[in-house]
Symmetry: C3
Subunit: 270 residues, 3 copies
């Protein structure tokens, strides 16, 4: 089935879903703002006393362990359980997994104790979650020996969820359908925050489209196109980031339909 | 009495008041920076061990419950009591009130246990604080049935404070004088942070002008004019935000006096 | 020995050191992003369970007490001890020292209980740490009576570390060699965050150059040159900040060698 990323963006703009985040303190503004400029409504709330209620009025939940603490992860669990009761999708950005044992342990706690619908990370982060022996350098990716799509499909099947590996090419799979999104620009790696924003974009698209792999691929495609447009005549990373918001805000059907690069790669049955 | 918003801005620039904030982790930079570009001096500090001392050297205190926790609200109470001992104005942005019971409860705790001089929020947030039966969607406004100015005046009288409802038209009242500020631009709603920044602007203006309704109306007017100037030839929300800081920084008498739109609406005695 | 700031910047770009931060919640994004645009890799992590491991894979540690709490300072101590075991430099930005007793106490705790390699602050902050009777206005500097270079050298000798006092002219000394860096632009004082970013820049340069005074002077020189370039044809502080990242990103040998203003001031033996 052909993906039309613009159709899902239009649903975001029409439905303006509330996207609840428990995220890190570095890129929290960017996560909120990217949701906003796409036409949706971000809310950040992490107190254990209110996260269940906030997730209960939201249409998607985004968790990001970039600056995790034990308390924050406990709030994430409460929020994720509430999200599950309401039936909304939960995205987990395993930011920095592979860098410390604490991040690995807490990632696995979240995956084992709650229902995560989309696992998202860069190559070394996701590989670590998939059980590979890799080392993440802080929150920047490290090298992974195996074929990444294979790692993603295996993890998606094992965890019965959608897996997203971001990078030069983004890999999205639910274990059945697999999409490779080649939109994007290498300037995205020149600033802090695009990885975290990608998770927020995925959450926003998953809020309005129940096929989560299609939603995630569409979101990454739109975000990548915005980045390509932002990089035109761009003097540097400061200007790029500002233009990224401008371009995401004004994305139109013509741009997306002419620039969309999503390849569907049917994966083998096991 | 006629308001001249520029006169109060000039006092801000001359006196450079220190504005102490306990605010949320999403827009904390923007809150600090808007105070800075207006010519004042922001400081953010939330440890219970130091908030009293910090408020004690400040000229205004701004509280914002956008990403509240129980501990943070306890620090807010300590800061507010210190502010009261020193006699400086305390602004409370009831960010997200009406979205969760926790936010409502903590807002009322702050209002009942400390002396708040200015209550600020969007329509549904303030309506909730005024006891109306409304529902806030995260931190974005919901619909309110009643006449907003009436709600604001009633709340101002009941709490003996100044009440600010931000929106397309901003309403400012101390229960006696009521001002409607129609400066601003709809691009302000297209990015995250303008609401929180408005509270910081109000705090900054209240730091140098003891008539808090006049101060708040003047601050919102200046901020709205900066937004109108920023929106000229503006390609999108990223550029708008950058220009908002530039325009707030360079606001001059001619701009403000020619663009100021503050209507004084004397309200009826009850 | 002549300093060539560009040579150290080239080492940063080639080695891409991981710079671990425990910093404040106001400028945390800017601290991370300035490290990124210089070509290095920032990571922010503050949970006591992981800071030792994160510092253990990093090449420098930057501590900033801008929005300190008791818990955060305890994490800083754990990180600093780990950094010392690994032998990487630790930079402490004594942000707001002199404003409250709590900041003074925690600064001294960090200095007395861990090994700090570079103490960095503005005039009144460093003067307070040096035992002078000064008062900091929030996080903005206050007046200091004594000759600043003298204060810095004395502190460097007393604490056996490098001391950096930022301001119109930056002073860097390890007690032996003293450098005055006069690069920079007064627009840096017009926005929030340049002071914190300066500490991150210093940490980044110290990650690749073991002569910490040379590293710090070189970092401040490069950052100051980026600011001078950013201030050209600059409409205001919003644009300045964006351009600061662009200019830091694209700094080249020609710019730095033609614009570098570092004066070596050999200080007297005591």
């Amino acid at each position: 089935m052909q993906i039309n990323a613009y159709d899902i963006l239009e649903k975001v703009r029409a439905e303006k879903p509330l996207v609840h985040h428990l995220t890190n303190w570095v890129t929290i503004y960017d996560c909120a703002n990217v949701v906003k400029v796409l036409g949706a409504s971000p809310v950040m709330a992490h107190a254990p006393e209110e996260v269940a209620e906030m997730s209960g009025i939201a249409s998607a939940l985004v968790l990001n362990i970039g600056t995790l603490t034990t308390d924050l992860v406990e709030s994430m669990k409460i929020a994720a359980r509430s999200a599950k009761r309401k039936g909304i999708p939960v995205v987990l950005d395993v930011c920095g997994a592979g860098a410390t044992k604490f991040r690995d342990d807490k990632s696995f706690e979240l995956l084992n104790e709650t229902r995560i619908d989309v696992i998202k990370g860069n190559a070394s982060e996701v590989a670590r979650i998939a059980g590979e022996d890799v080392r993440t350098k802080g929150v920047d990716g490290g090298a992974v020996g195996r074929d990444l799509a294979e790692v993603a499909v295996e993890l998606a099947k094992g965890r019965v969820c959608t897996v997203v590996i971001t990078g030069k090419d983004d890999i999205v799979t639910d274990g059945g359908a697999t999409y490779i999104v080649t939109n994007g620009h290498n300037m995205m790696g020149g600033i802090v925050g695009t990885g975290c924003m990608a998770a927020s974009v995925i959450g926003t698209f998953c809020a309005v489209e129940s096929d989560l792999a299609r939603a995630a691929a569409s979101g990454l495609c739109c975000f990548g196109i915005a980045a390509e447009l932002a990089a035109e005549d761009c003097p540097g990373p400061g200007a790029f980031k500002e233009k990224l918001f401008d371009c995401a805000y004004s994305l139109n059907r013509e741009q997306i339909e002419s620039m969309q690069r999503i390849v569907s790669a049917r994966t083998e049955a096991p």
